[in-house]
C-alpha cells in the first residue's frame, strides 16, 4: 500500500469517526425529544439508528486494524489510529445509551408525566455540547480545547444530583410514581454517562496530539448523601403509614 493510499485511508477513517459522532449526537437529541413528548415513533427511529452506528463502528475498526497490520504506522499516525479505536468505543456506548432512553420512552408512553421535564433536557443539552466540542477538537486536532471541555462535566453531575433528589422525593410521596421516577433516574444516569464518554473522547484527543496519556478533570457523582436522603424519606413514609 503506497504512503499516499495510507494517508487517504487514514483521513477517510477519521471522517468516518466524525460521521459516527454526528449520528450519535442526532440519536441523543431525538431520544430526549422523544422522551419529553412521549413520542413512540421517534423512539423507534432511534432504535433503527443503532444499525448505522454499528456499521460505521465495524468499518472504522476494520480500517484501523488494517492500517496497523499492513503499514506499521509510527508517531502521530499511530496515536491517531489508537485514539480512533478508543473513541469509537465511547461513541458506540453513547449510541447504546440513546437507544436505552428510547426504550424507556416506549415503556413510559402511557403514563402521565410527573412534572414538566426541565433538568433532564438541560443535562442532554450539556452532554451534547460536550460531545460536539470533543469531536470538533478531534477534527481540528485541538488539544487545548480537549483540555477545557471536561470541566463542563461538573454541571452535568450537579444536574444529575438535583434530578436524583427530586425524583426520590416524588417516589417517596407517591408510590404510583415509582415506575416513572425510577426510569427517569436511569435516563439521567445515561446522560451523565454520555458526558463521561465525551470526557473520554477529549482524553484520547489530547493523547493523540500531545503524545502523553493523561486523565483530564473528572467529577465523581457522589450519590451516597442523596441515597441517604432518599432512605430517610422512605423511612419517614413507612413510619407515617
Amino acid at each position: 500500500m503506497a504512503r499516499e493510499n495510507f494517508h487517504r485511508i487514514l483521513n477517510e477513517t477519521q471522517q468516518d469517526v466524525l460521521r459516527m459522532g454526528s449520528l450519535v449526537e442526532e440519536a441523543i437529541t431525538k431520544a430526549v425529544d422523544g422522551l419529553a413528548r412521549s413520542d413512540i415513533a421517534l423512539a423507534d427511529e432511534i432504535l433503527n439508528f443503532d444499525d448505522y452506528i454499528d456499521d460505521l463502528n465495524v468499518r472504522i475498526e476494520t480500517n484501523c486494524l488494517n492500517l496497523l497490520a499492513l503499514q506499521q504506522p509510527m508517531a502521530s499516525d499511530l496515536r491517531t489510529i489508537a485514539a480512533m479505536l478508543d473513541i469509537i468505543i465511547d461513541l458506540e456506548r453513547i449510541g447504546d445509551h440513546a437507544c436505552d432512553i428510547a426504550q424507556i420512552t416506549k415503556n413510559l408512553a402511557r403514563e402521565p408525566q410527573l412534572k414538566p421535564m426541565i433538568d433532564i433536557p438541560r443535562m442532554a443539552a450539556k452532554a451534547r455540547e460536550m460531545l460536539r466540542e470533543s469531536l470538533d477538537a478531534f477534527a481540528n486536532r485541538d488539544a487545548g480545547a480537549a483540555h477545557l471541555i471536561p470541566e463542563k462535566d461538573d454541571e452535568v453531575d450537579r444536574l444529575y444530583r438535583a434530578v436524583f433528589k427530586e425524583l426520590i422525593e416524588f417516589m417517596a410521596k407517591d408510590p404510583k410514581a415509582i415506575n416513572r421516577g425510577s426510569n427517569l433516574i436511569l435516563v439521567a444516569l445515561y446522560l451523565e454517562r454520555i458526558a463521561d464518554h465525551a470526557t473520554n473522547v477529549c482524553e484520547r484527543v489530547a493523547y493523540m496530539v500531545e503524545g502523553v496519556p493523561k486523565k483530564l478533570k473528572r467529577s465523581v457523582v457522589e450519590i451516597n448523601e442523596v441515597a441517604a436522603h432518599g432512605d430517610a424519606l422512605l423511612k419517614a413514609g413507612r413510619t407515617e403509614t
Partner: protein, 388 residues
C-alpha cells in the same frame, strides 16, 4: 416558498456556469501563462477570470447556502449563506471534507452520493450544531468535459418556518381547547335548563353560563387586541394617568380572588403620586394581565407583590410572585405570541399564550420596556419601565 425554489434553481444554474467558467478560467490561465512566456496577451483569459469573479460575487449574495465539493470530496465553494446556516466560517470548510467542519451525517451522505453515484434529490434533514436547525437540501452532480465530477448542495434554512408552524399548531390547539371547554359546559347547563331545573338551580346555571360566556369573550377580545396591536391599528387615547391610583384599583379588584386562593397580595407605592402619559384603559390591561398571571401561577400560601419604584426620570411598575418560576430556556420566548411555557399547566390555569405578548406591545407603544426575571421554584418578577 416560491422565492426559495426560484433561488435554488438559480443557484444551481449559476453554480454550473461558475464551475464551468472556473475550469475554463483555469485552462485559460494555464494557456495565458504559456502564451505570456512567448510575450502574447489574451483578452479572452482576462474576461473568463472576470466572469468567474462576478459569478463568485453573485454566489455570495444568494439567500440560500451553496456548498460545492470536488472529485476528492473536498469543499471548493462555501458561500456566506452556507456559513450562516451551517454555523461554520468558509475558511474552516474550504479545502477539507465537509464532515470535518459541518457535523451533519445526512448532508455529508447526500453530497457524497451525488458525487460518487450521481444520486440527486431534495430532502429535509436536521442539523444539530450549537442550535438545532431544520434544513432543506438539494444535491446535484455536475460533470465536466474533462471527466471530472463535482457535487453541489443548495441549503435552505427551514427552522423558522417549522417553528412558526409549530406555534400555529399549538395556538389552534390551545384556542380550540379554550373555546371547547366553556362550550361543553354551557351545552350541559343549557340541556339541564331545557329539561327543567328549579328556581335556585336555574339561577346558578344562568350565572355559570354568563361566566363561561365572559371567558370566551375575553379570549376573542385578546385575539382581536393582539391583531390590532401588531398591525398598529389599535387606537390609544393618551392622557395623564395616575399610575399609583391605577395599581390601587386593579389590586382592589383582585383582592377577593387572592383571598379565596389563600394568596397574600401586597401593594407597595411611593408616597408621591406617580403620573405618566398613557392610555389608562390599556395600562389597566397591563397590570391586570400581569397580576392575573401571577395569581394563576401561585399556589395557596403564596405571595404576590405589586408596586412602583422610582428612579430619576423613570417609574418602574413591578409584579412579583413566588410561584414555580419560568425555565431559563423558556424565558427569552415568553413575550412571543401564543408561547406557553407548560401547555398542560396553562390549559388548567386558562392561558392561551397571548397575555404577555399584548402586555409587551402596550408597554412598548407607551415608549416603555418590559423585562422578566425568574428562578425556578422561587418565582418571577415582571418590570415595566416608563418615562415620567
Amino acid at each position: 416558498m416560491l422565492s426559495a425554489i426560484v433561488s435554488i434553481v438559480l443557484a444551481i444554474a449559476l453554480l454550473a456556469v461558475l464551475i464551468a467558467n472556473s475550469r475554463m478560467a483555469r485552462r485559460l490561465r494555464d494557456a495565458k501563462a504559456e502564451v505570456a512566456l512567448n510575450g502574447v496577451e489574451s483578452a479572452a483569459s482576462i474576461s473568463a477570470a472576470a466572469a468567474a469573479a462576478r459569478l463568485g460575487a453573485l454566489l455570495d449574495v444568494l439567500p440560500v447556502g451553496v456548498v460545492v465539493i470536488d472529485d476528492d470530496a473536498r469543499v471548493t465553494a462555501f458561500n456566506s449563506a452556507a456559513s450562516d446556516i451551517l454555523g461554520v466560517q468558509p475558511e474552516r470548510a474550504v479545502g477539507r471534507a465537509l464532515i470535518e467542519s459541518v457535523r451533519s451525517y445526512d448532508l455529508d451522505r447526500r453530497l457524497l452520493a451525488a458525487l460518487r453515484e450521481g444520486v440527486e434529490g431534495t430532502a429535509e434533514v436536521p442539523l444539530h450544531a450549537a442550535s438545532d436547525r431544520s434544513l432543506r437540501i438539494t444535491t446535484k452532480a455536475v460533470h465536466g468535459a474533462d471527466g471530472s465530477t463535482e457535487a453541489i448542495a443548495v441549503v435552505v434554512d427551514l427552522t423558522r418556518m417549522r417553528e412558526l408552524e409549530a406555534i400555529r399548531r399549538d395556538f389552534v390547539s390551545n384556542v380550540s381547547h379554550e373555546l371547547r371547554t366553556p362550550l361543553a359546559a354551557m351545552k350541559i347547563m343549557i340541556e339541564t335548563l331545557q329539561s327543567g331545573a328549579d328556581g335556585s338551580d336555574a339561577a346558578g346555571f344562568l350565572r355559570s353560563l354568563a361566566a363561561e360566556t365572559d371567558r370566551m369573550v375575553v379570549l376573542v377580545e385578546e385575539l382581536l387586541d393582539l391583531a390590532r396591536l401588531e398591525s398598529g391599528r389599535l387606537e390609544m387615547r393618551f392622557g395623564t394617568v395616575d399610575l399609583s391610583a391605577l395599581c390601587r384599583d386593579v389590586v382592589a379588584t383582585h383582592m377577593p380572588r387572592a383571598r379565596s386562593l389563600g394568596i397574600a397580595l401586597d401593594l407597595s407605592l411611593p408616597e408621591q403620586a406617580v403620573t405618566i402619559v398613557g392610555d389608562r384603559d390599556r395600562l389597566v390591561q397591563v397590570v391586570f394581565n400581569l397580576l392575573d398571571n401571577a395569581l394563576r401561577h401561585s399556589s395557596t400560601a403564596g405571595h404576590v407583590q405589586v408596586g412602583i419604584s422610582l428612579a430619576p426620570g423613570l417609574a418602574t411598575l413591578y409584579v412579583k410572585d413566588d410561584g414555580p418560576g419560568i425555565p431559563y430556556d423558556a424565558l427569552p420566548h415568553i413575550f412571543e405570541r401564543f408561547y406557553v411555557v407548560d401547555r398542560s399547566r396553562s390549559r388548567s390555569a386558562g392561558g392561551t399564550g397571548l397575555g404577555l405578548a399584548i402586555v409587551k406591545h402596550i408597554v412598548e407603544s407607551h415608549g416603555g420596556s418590559i423585562t422578566a426575571e425568574s428562578e425556578l421554584n422561587r418565582g418571577t418578577t415582571f418590570r415595566c419601565t416608563f418615562s415620567v
